[in-house]
Amino acid sequence: MNLAENFSPLLINLPVIITLIIITRYIIGFKTWRNYTSLALALSFFFINMRSDSIILTTIVWLALSVGIIGIATITKYLLRKISMNFYSRIAMMYLTAITFFYLVAIVISFIFKTNFFYVQEVIIAGFLIGSTIDDLAILQFKKSTAEFLRRMITSVLLGLVGGLLLTWEWWNAFIVNRFEILIVILIVNIVVANWKNLRLTELLRFKSVTR
């Protein structure tokens, strides 16, 4: 029995995606909402793809769900801003409306296209994973400016998409399960990034007037 072939590439991809996130943060300068958000979004992409016929359909469904769930949660937070309630109750409301949106979308699409796509376990898990980012989203919205929130949301969704594509890329997955050396490469990249003290690319653009 070839142990390597039976080992899920999903797990090995975890440090790969995290490394992408930290390169984006420390070398390029785009921040995400913590690591968990992009990981959860990438994993949700993976689960949707398990029940999808094509990567294009997966991307469309995933984007619609991610933007929809996060968008509804954000709108809920905005609508509730004048209503007096406890902080965590407010977050609970954001969860409630976002998941209600998911549920309604599932019913409508299932009815129109006569499909049970939204009822299968994998897609439900994907919705759960996207929904689980609401907590971090809420905290970020309360603490940072709208501009910073938007910036981090865009980066997180993009990195979630890149991570999701990586998780579903057959050639890549076949490559990493047979080459555990990739983890050494990842380790080296991490050491380099960990010691990177230079300016981030976005800072080069931001501070260019200082050296004029």
Binding site: F142, N195, L199, R200, R206
Partner: protein, 496 residues
């Protein structure tokens, strides 16, 4: 796509980025045990008040939700501020400017009001940790509202401007005035739309001003602006910050007491109480570099090895090293360089000797770097006899007895000088003789011409020669030779 033209290595050596700040400065200079002195606002107040440093007066502390129910709202003053103890980026802070007549409602900068129910909700959110730096449950407190100082009041829209000073190695290295605007809803936060204005450390006068651009994916970008955004439009350049030396002194004291090696100190100026420390910041933001159009890293490297415990000395160092923005502007307008009362100059050797020896033969005389006193009370410049000899003006030895002779009266000096003037054609280096009346008597001095480099300017100075061996400065530069310069009497060694 046109790539911006700048050198990566030049930027890396000048500009402080988040990676360097977090890895090298915060980790090494701001250990966790000291960081809490800044993160915990109540602890900051306690420590600073023990050291007799003034902070805004504390009214009430609310630690639990139960305590909210027992607040005596009628006992609150008409204006106050509510803050989370461990808040970040100014989130959760609400300033109340006044109270509605005959009701328990308080007015915010945007002229909206909050009633007791809304205030209770806000306090409850703070205690739940909605605004705390790590998301953990927090403490809320009521604090006095600062009254705006008359100089800064016209520049701020319904809020209190604050002054952020970055201090490293107990030396203030960069400063910024932050002004609230209508867009920022009365807060001085740059991310929220406030204005950041660089401050010249030496003079406490404002320089460049910045304001956040619209949304940009790469991070907050800033435009350079010249006037306030809200009416009346006022120029932002040239505001003299009141109590400037006191502010620098407070900054150094805060760094010494907090033991944070890299610190941002936020100071507000109260109309009646003067400068008060608003809070300490263990992770100061980096946009201050844009407001000053200068890199923090270059300044950090300048003060890295300096050791001083004396506050006055640290202020002098900061002023000497980091003043200059205003001077540059003055220099650009007048075309004249600004110098202090004492400067280091390079005195070149006797050019006549050097040319006689020819270019192939190396002259034995070399230029000397010496301290020169800038003396606007003296008309002519002067050089020490021994220094002149070392520079190759050896002819002076032939008239050496001049330096030992003092005359009782002008007539005797006049008689003596005639004799010397007759010998002039024998000399190459000595151009003339002059009678000088000083407090210690009347003397005759020979006059030579020597090249002196002062800053970027090298020119021929006409110098009287005297024996200055018992004096500190071997060279005096008089006003006749200083027409290309402006003199700042408060400074020394400005030319680098």
């Amino acid at each position: 796509m046109i790539l911006p033209s700048f050198s990566f290595s030049e930027m890396n050596s000048k500009v402080l980025g988040l990676n360097f700040r977090n890895r090298k400065l915060l980790r090494q200079l701001n250990p966790r045990k000291y960081r809490r002195y800044a993160d915990d606002k109540l602890l900051t107040k306690r420590i600073l008040s023990k050291k007799k440093i003034k902070t805004p007066q504390l009214f009430k502390i609310i630690r639990t939700k139960e305590q909210i129910e027992y607040i005596n709202w009628e006992s609150l003053p008409k204006s106050f501020v509510i803050k989370p103890n461990r808040g970040t980026h100014g989130s959760g802070i609400i300033v109340f400017y006044g109270q509605r007549k005959k009701s328990l409602e308080w007015i915010m900068p945007n002229l909206e009001t909050m009633d007791i129910l809304q205030l209770k909700q806000h306090l409850s959110d703070i205690i739940d940790g909605k605004y705390s730096i790590d998301g953990k449950p927090d403490v809320a407190f009521f604090e006095e509202r600062i009254s705006n100082h008359k100089i800064l009041k016209p520049y701020s829209y319904r809020g209190i401007p604050d002054i952020r000073i970055i201090s490293y190695n107990n030396i203030p290295i960069m400063a910024e005035l932050r002004l609230p605007t209508r867009e920022s809803k009365g807060t001085a936060n740059l991310h929220a739309g406030g204005i950041g204005v660089g401050i010249d450390i030496a003079s406490g006068v404002t320089t460049t001003a910045i304001h956040r651009k619209r949304f940009d994916i790469i991070g907050d970008q800033y435009d350079i602006i010249e006037e306030t955004l809200d009416n009346p439009k006022l120029p932002l350049r040239g505001i003299k910050i009141p109590y400037w030396d006191k502010i620098l002194e407070l900054t150094i004291k805060c760094q010494q007491y907090s033991k944070l090696g890299f610190l941002g100190v936020d100071i507000v100026i109260d109309r009646d109480k003067g400068p008060l420390v608003l809070e300490l910041n263990a992770r100061p933001g980096l946009a201050i570099q844009l407001a000053n159009q200068e890199g923090l890293l270059a300044r950090i490297n300048q003060v890295k090895g300096i050791k001083t415990k004396l506050i006055a000395k640290a202020i002098t160092i900061a002023k000497n090293l980091f003043g200059g923005e205003i001077e540059e502007q003055v220099e650009n307008i007048t075309g004249k360089e600004i110098i202090g009362m004492i400067e280091t100059v390079l005195v070149h050797p006797n050019t006549f000797i050097a040319s006689k020896e020819g270019t192939k033969k190396k002259s034995k005389y070399v230029a000397e770097t010496v301290k020169a006193k800038i003396d606007t009370g003296a008309l002519k410049s002067s050089i020490d006899y021994a220094l002149a000899i070392r520079l190759g003006f050896t002819e002076l030895q032939k008239v050496q007895k001049l330096f030992e002779t003092k005359y009782d009266s002008s007539s005797k000096a006049q008689e003596a000088i005639i004799e010397y003037k007759q010998q002039l054609r024998e000399f190459d280096d000595i151009k003339a003789f002059t009678i000088v009346r000083a407090s210690n008597g009347i003397t005759i001095r020979p006059i030579i011409e020597a090249q002196i480099t002062l800053g970027d300017i090298t020119k021929t100075f006409v110098l009287t020669v005297s024996n200055r061996s018992s004096l500190i400065y071997p060279v005096i530069l008089g006003r006749k030779d200083l027409k290309e310069f402006l003199i700042d009497p408060s400074r020394t060694f400005t030319l680098r």
